[in-house]
Symmetry: C2
Subunit: 404 residues, 2 copies
C-alpha cells in the first residue's frame, strides 16, 4: 500500500472541478465543487448526530438510500440550515447538478457548509453549473478540494494505491474542516472515492466502522456541526473481484480506507481554526477500547491542555485532570504520561505522580509542530488515538469576529 | 430576605483572616486563609467528581464524616494533588491549624488550590500560622476572601440576612474560581457559613440539592478541577429553633442558601479566566428539568458561542448547534432564541428558523457586560439557568503562559 497524489481523482473513472460561483463575496475563493464518477457507484455515508441538521443531510440520505450514487456537489458560504424550505433547495441543487452532468437527480450527493439561518440562493449555482460541469477532468481534484475550503489554510487530500487479487485499486479523498470564512461552525465534510468493486452494504460497514476510530476521534473545539458528512463512492472500475463478504479483500480495503482517513484526520486537526500544532493523544494499556477512546478524546478536548500546548508548557496536571473527569473507569495511581515530538521524548508522570524532568527539554519538545501525548493506563491491552490542536489567540479572533 | 455585607463573617460567631505566608513568590498576594467558628458547627460539603482528587479532599471528607467542623484552612499556589504523601501533608496542615486556634484536628476543613504535581511545603504555613490565628476577627472576611484568590480579579463574597421564628439568621460565603497565578486549573472553592441551627444531615441535603442548580451549572472552560470543594458550616448561634425536619424553616434556609450561592455563581462565571462578560443562559418551556439543564449548560460550554459573545456577534446558529448536540431530547422546530441585556432584547430565531433582526441593535445588546441568552423550547414548563463567560484572547494568554 502506498500513498499517492490525486485526491478524489486518484481512483479510476472519477473527474472533479471547483469554481467560484458567487455565493461568497470574495471572488478569489472557490465556493462550489463537483465530483462525477463515469459510472454509478456503490455509495455509503455517515452524518452529524446533531439534532439540528442541515437540509442537505436529509436529501443526501434519501438519494443514497438505494446504496448507489454517481456525483457529489458541495457549496461553501451558506449552510442551508435552519431555513424555511431548505430541503426543497437542496433537492433543486441536486436536480440542477444532475441535469448538467447527465446523471439521475437521486444519484447526487449534495452538501453545504457556511452560515446557519440564511437562505441559500441557487441563482449563482445554476448560472455556473454548465461551466463547472464542462470543466470536470481527471486532474480536477485540487480545484474540487479547494472549492470546499473555508477557513481551512491547506487543502486536504489523501490517496492510496493497493492491490486486490492482482488488480491495482485506489482510494482517495478530500476533506474540509476547521471553520468558515463567515465563521459559523467547523463543518467537517469528507468525500472519498474508490475504484474498488464492493457491495454497498459492505462499503457502509467499512465506513461506519472506520469513522469510530478516525473522524469521530477528532476535535477542534468540541462543537459538533449541523452539517457534518463523510461519504464514500466506490465505482468498481478497478476490475477487482467484487467484494461481497468480509473476506481478506475486505480487510485490505478497510486498511486502505483507514490509511486515507487517518491522513485526512491529521490534516483536519492540525489545521484546526487558529491552530499552530497538531496534538495526537495516544492512549495504551486500557482495560477496554472505549476506555482508551474516552481518555484520548477527553485530553484533546481540554481547553486548558490545548492552551498549554499553545504555550509549549508541559503542564501535565491538565492531562491527569482531563483523564480524571473523562468518565472513563481508570486507576489514576497507575497512569504514566509522556510528551513526544521530533525533538525527543520526556516522561512527566509515572503511576499518577509527577517525576522530575527537564523543563528545557520539555519546552523544546513542545515547540514542535506535531506533538504526541502518550498515556499508558497500565491496566490492559487496548489502545486508541485522538487528534486535536492547540487553542490560540487566532481561534478566538476567527470566531469572535463579526459575521462580515 | 436581604443581601448584606460580611461574607463568611456575616453569620454570628465566625471570625476570619488571610495573609501571605510564602507559598507564592509574589509577596503582595495572600496565599493562606483561615475561618473559625466560636463553637463547633454542623458541617456539610460536596466535592469534585474528578477521579484525580486533591489530597485535601479525602482529609476533609474524613474530618466532617461526623457532620461537625469548626474551622477552615485554605492555601493557594500549590494544589497538593498527584504528589506522594499528599494526604499526610493535608492532615499535618490541619493539625498545625487546630493547634494554633484551639480546635480539634478532625474539626478542620482543609483545602488547597494551585499547581498539580508539586509537593506542598508546610514550612511557611507552620511559620505563619500563629500570626494568622492571632489576626482572626469578625471583620476579617475580606482578608480571607482575598487569601483564596488566584487569577480571580475580584473577591467573591455574598451574604443574606433572614428570619426564622423571629430570630435573625445569616448565611454568608466566599468563593474563588477562575484559575491560578501558576495557571493550572480553575479550582472552584466555596466556603459558606451560617449561624442557623440545623441538623448536619439536613444541612448536607440542602447543600447537595442546591449545587445541582447553582455551582454545577457553571462552566468557565469545561475542565472539572481535581480540587473543587463547597462546604457549609452552620453553628447555631442565631438561636433559632433547631431545624430537624424538612419544614417551613428548612425551605426558608434553602432559599437563603440559594440567594448566596446564585450570587457567588454569577461572580465566579463573570470573573472566569480572561472573561469580559457574564453569560446567563435561561432555558424555559422544557419537557423535563434535566432537558432544560442539559440545553443551558451545552450552550454556555460552546467554545464557538463563547467566542461569538466576546465579539458581540449575534451568531445564534451556534446556540441552535449547541442545543442540537447537547444530547437533550428537543424538538428543534419549536425553539425560540433571544438575546437580552441592559441595552434591550432581540429575538433572533423563532420555531427553529432565523428571523430578521437589526444587527446594530443586537450588537448594542451584546456589547454589555452581562448577557442573557433566552431559549424557549415551547415543549413544557420546566426551566433552568446556566452561567458562563466569553472566550477571549486573555483566556489563551493566561493558560498558555509558562508556569512561572
Amino acid at each position: 500500500m502506498k500513498l499517492i497524489e490525486g485526491g478524489v481523482c486518484a481512483a479510476k473513472g472519477f473527474k472533479a472541478n471547483g469554481i467560484h460561483c458567487g455565493i461568497r463575496k470574495n471572488k478569489t475563493k472557490k465556493d462550489l465543487a463537483l465530483v462525477r464518477s463515469d459510472v454509478p457507484a456503490a455509495a455509503a455515508a455517515v452524518y452529524t448526530t446533531n439534532l439540528v441538521k442541515g437540509a442537505t443531510i436529509q436529501i443526501t440520505k434519501n438519494h443514497i438510500a438505494n446504496g448507489v450514487a454517481q456525483a457529489i456537489v458541495c457549496n461553501s458560504g451558506i449552510a442551508n440550515t435552519c431555513c424555511a424550505g431548505g430541503e426543497a433547495t437542496a433537492e433543486e441543487m441536486s436536480r440542477i447538478t444532475a441535469e448538467a452532468i447527465g446523471v439521475k437527480t437521486e444519484d447526487v450527493i449534495v452538501a453545504s457548509t457556511g452560515v446557519i439561518g440564511q437562505p441559500l440562493d441557487l441563482t449563482p449555482i445554476a448560472a455556473s453549473m454548465p461551466e463547472l460541469a464542462k470543466g470536470l477532468r481527471a486532474d480536477g481534484n485540487i480545484d474540487a478540494a479547494t472549492g470546499i475550503m473555508t477557513t481551512d489554510t491547506i487543502k486536504k487530500e489523501a490517496a492510496v494505491e493497493f492491490t486486490l487479487g492482482g488488480k491495482t485499486c485506489h482510494i482517495g479523498g478530500m476533506a474540509k474542516g476547521s471553520g468558515m470564512i463567515h465563521p459559523n461552525m467547523a463543518t467537517m465534510l469528507v468525500f472519498i472515492t474508490s475504484d474498488v468493486c464492493i457491495a454497498p452494504a459492505l462499503l457502509q460497514k467499512a465506513l461506519s466502522g472506520d469513522i469510530r476510530n478516525t473522524f469521530n476521534m477528532i476535535s477542534i473545539d468540541g462543537d459538533t456541526s449541523t452539517n457534518d458528512m463523510v461519504t464514500v463512492l466506490a465505482n468498481g472500475m478497478a476490475g477487482n473481484t467484487p467484494i461481497m463478504e468480509e473476506n481478506e479483500d475486505f480487510t485490505l480495503f478497510m486498511q486502505a480506507l483507514n490509511t486515507v482517513t487517518v491522513a485526512l484526520c491529521r490534516m483536519i486537526a492540525g489545521d484546526g481554526e487558529g491552530a499552530t500544532k497538531l496534538i495526537e493523544c495516544k492512549v495504551s494499556g486500557a482495560a477496554a477500547e472505549q476506555t482508551a477512546k474516552t481518555v484520548a478524546k477527553s485530553v484533546i478536548c481540554s481547553s486548558l491542555l490545548k492552551a498549554a500546548m499553545f504555550g509549549a508548557d508541559a503542564n501535565w496536571g491538565r492531562v491527569l485532570c482531563a483523564i480524571g473527569y473523562s468518565g472513563a473507569d481508570v486507576d489514576v495511581t497507575k497512569i504514566d504520561v509522556a510528551f513526544r515530538s521530533a525533538a525527543g521524548i520526556v516522561s512527566v508522570c509515572e503511576q499518577g505522580v509527577g517525576v522530575d524532568f527537564s523543563e528545557e527539554k520539555a519546552k523544546e519538545i513542545l515547540l514542535q509542530k506535531e506533538i504526541e501525548i502518550l498515556i499508558d493506563l497500565n491496566d490492559g491491552s487496548f489502545a486508541a488515538t485522538a487528534w486535536g490542536c492547540d487553542l490560540t489567540y487566532d481561534y478566538v479572533k476567527i470566531n469572535g469576529d463579526y459575521r462580515t
